[in-house]
């Protein structure tokens, strides 16, 4: 097997230890034997993955490998797709979220999600961030104002927008919109944040800001991120999971995956031989 040069792996962002000892962290998410079908078409095969709490797990793999589908099972977003079937177990903090008794509305407040395309609502910046608390029934204006401020600060956007909170969110730049979407997710007070290629539509400077933000957020939140960008996966994550054709090929500490993967297919993918 041709050796990978460890010096070719970029340095990680602040706050991310890529040699993380996963046994020291409690599990935030445990997927066990997950099969997923769109109608008759099976897209996930017996996937089992443990995500330690307060860490970043990157899901990598070529297009169509099932990594986004897997991500979307974690907050049951796939429920919205007619004819999709999911089998297996997903424990979020010990609770099986596949149980029909689980209220998906509450689950999604607990497990937030940020999408590839920034999706600000056609409302003001303030109303975007206050959306989640409002649907949960929060009416108190000063509570909402404090929450909006703290979430925008956590998302490193406060200084740029504090003077124009009532302006339409659509007027922000792409990078700002994406940080707004992160702030909006934080406002529902989640424990886990799922990110589906959050920076793939952004310019390098905005991508950089998002990556640093991930490094800061993982001190308090568990993050699972899908990315096409190998460098990004190696910079921001503690743990990397490689998917190929609906199968979870290999999981391990990010530095190990990028410097000495056990599987040939993993190595071929990260060295750019396919995908």
């Amino acid at each position: 097997m041709p050796a990978i040069n460890p010096s070719s792996v970029p340095p990680s962002v602040a706050g991310v230890d890529r040699n993380l000892d996963m046994s020291a962290h409690a599990a935030a998410i445990e997927a066990r034997g997950l099969d997923f079908y769109y109608g008759d078409h099976q897209v996930l095969f017996d996937v089992s993955l443990t995500v330690p709490e307060r860490s970043v797990t990157a899901l990598i793999g070529p297009s169509g490998c099932g990594k986004s589908t897997f991500l979307r099972t974690l907050n049951r977003m796939n429920d919205l797709i007619e004819g999709s079937v999911c089998r297996g177990e997903i424990l979020v903090e010990g609770q099986n979220i596949m149980d029909p008794a689980v209220d998906v509305v509450l689950l999604r407040k607990h497990v937030g999600m940020v999408f590839q395309k920034s999706t600000p609502f056609p409302k003001s910046i303030f109303d975007n961030v206050a959306y989640g608390p409002r649907v949960s029934g929060e009416r108190n204006r000063s509570v909402l104002a404090d929450l909006v401020e703290s979430c925008l600060k956590k998302a490193a956007l406060w200084d740029e927008v504090k003077d124009r909170l009532t302006k339409p969110a659509m007027a922000l730049s792409g990078g700002q919109q994406q940080r707004l979407c992160i702030a909006r997710t934080l406002a529902t007070n989640p424990r886990i944040i799922l990110m589906d290629e959050p920076a793939s539509a952004l310019d390098p400077a905005s991508t950089d800001r998002i990556e640093n933000l991930i490094g800061e957020l993982c001190a308090n939140y568990t993050i699972v991120i899908v990315t096409h960008n190998m460098q990004q996966a190696s910079r921001v994550s503690h743990q990397t999971a490689f998917f190929y054709k609906g199968v979870l090929v290999e999981t391990g500490p990010t530095l190990k995956i990028f410097t000495g993967p056990s599987e040939k297919r993993t190595e071929d993918y990260i060295t750019g031989r396919f995908g």
């Binding site: 689950l107 999604r108 407040k109 937030g112 999408f115 999706t119 056609p122 979407c181 997710t185």
Partner: protein, 318 residues
């Protein structure tokens, strides 16, 4: 420079001549509707405002002021004729307002149900059903109001409260027109609601929204301009509706806002008068055209406002 003589194969193709013929035929089709509109306006104007030749137009005999402000409508020839449009306007507006009260919640509710709640199989079943409702002739709706809604629903229900209802009444006419325009609102609103990007809905669901939250807080506001335009178009349809209101609303031109009694509408009068036996250039016959112009002006204004709202307040998504 001498003109270049092109070879025959490059200039005289059969398909090119065909294409010209087709273009001309299609142009005629498009011109037909424009010409019809122009002809209608011409007919209305030459009878109401200025009549060439021996005839005297309506507004040459009755002043515009009397027409717009008079409170009595008694379209007979001779001294006792009164031509104030207010009673007819009352009837028309009442029917349209009652129709809106019925059709706006029902139509919007149906649109939200079809786009946000119903499974695709359910939607495939519901949409054609609504279109069938839209295809029932309005004369049938008129008799439905007169023979079913009034005696079997409104009379017993209102009777419980000791309210007396006339056989011909604006309430049943308004309700039935509301039922008639509900499919229009549902169908137009559903189209704009479905054009709201899926990504917005997903983002809202991911923040812990119920279906109702997504519908009311995200989808309807994002599609609001189109929904308002649908409401206005339906209102304009209700104003122009004829057969059902003629049958269910009665023929009495009274200036009233009481929906429990009958009231003639503008369209109802036009049907009634055009089947009468007065001579073609009598003032009672000419008044049809004056009412026609007023009706045309109202619906045109509403349609223009609705188009303006649609353009002005449309949210633009990438």
């Amino acid at each position: 420079m001498p003109a270049v003589k092109l070879p025959k194969w490059a200039t005289q193709s059969v398909s090119r001549r065909h294409e010209k013929l087709i273009q001309a035929a299609l142009f005629l089709c498009a011109a037909l509707s424009v010409l019809t509109t122009a002809a209608i306006i011409l007919v209305l104007l030459t009878n109401a405002v200025y009549a060439p030749g021996a005839k005297t137009a309506f507004f040459e005999r009755v002043s515009l002021w009397e027409f717009l402000t008079g409170t009595h409508w008694k379209p007979v020839d001779g001294e006792s004729g009164r031509f104030g449009i207010l009673p007819l306007l009352c009837g028309t507006i009442m029917v349209a307002v009652i129709a809106s009260v019925v059709s706006v919640p029902a139509g919007l509710g149906a649109a939200i149900y079809m786009s946000e709640y119903a499974a695709s199989r359910e939607r495939e079943f519901l949409k054609p059903l609504l279109e069938i409702l839209a295809g029932i002739p309005s004369v049938v709706f008129g008799f439905f109001a007169l023979k079913f809604i009034t005696p079997w629903i409104l009379k017993p229900v209102l009777g419980l409260f000791g309210v007396n209802l006339q056989i011909f009444n604006t309430l049943s006419a308004g309700i039935v027109v509301g039922i008639m325009v509900t499919p229009l609102i549902a169908s137009l609103s559903e189209d704009v609601i479905r054009s709201v990007p899926r990504s917005l809905r997903e983002a809202a669901y991911a923040l812990g929204s119920t279906r109702f939250d997504v519908s009311v807080r995200i989808v309807v506001p994002a599609a609001l301009s189109g929904i308002l335009a649908a409401f206005l178009l339906a209102f304009s349809r209700a104003v122009g509706e004829t057969m059902a209101v003629t049958i269910a609303g009665g023929q009495q031109a009274i200036a009233t806002l009481n929906p429990l009694q009958g009231a003639q509408t503008m369209t109802g009068f036009m049907v009634h008068a055009s089947t009468g036996d007065s001579s073609a250039d009598s003032i009672s016959r000419m008044s049809i055209y004056a009412v026609g112009i007023a009706l045309f002006a109202i619906t045109l204004t509403i349609n223009i406002i609705s188009g303006w709202i649609l353009r002005r307040y449309r949210e633009v998504y990438q």
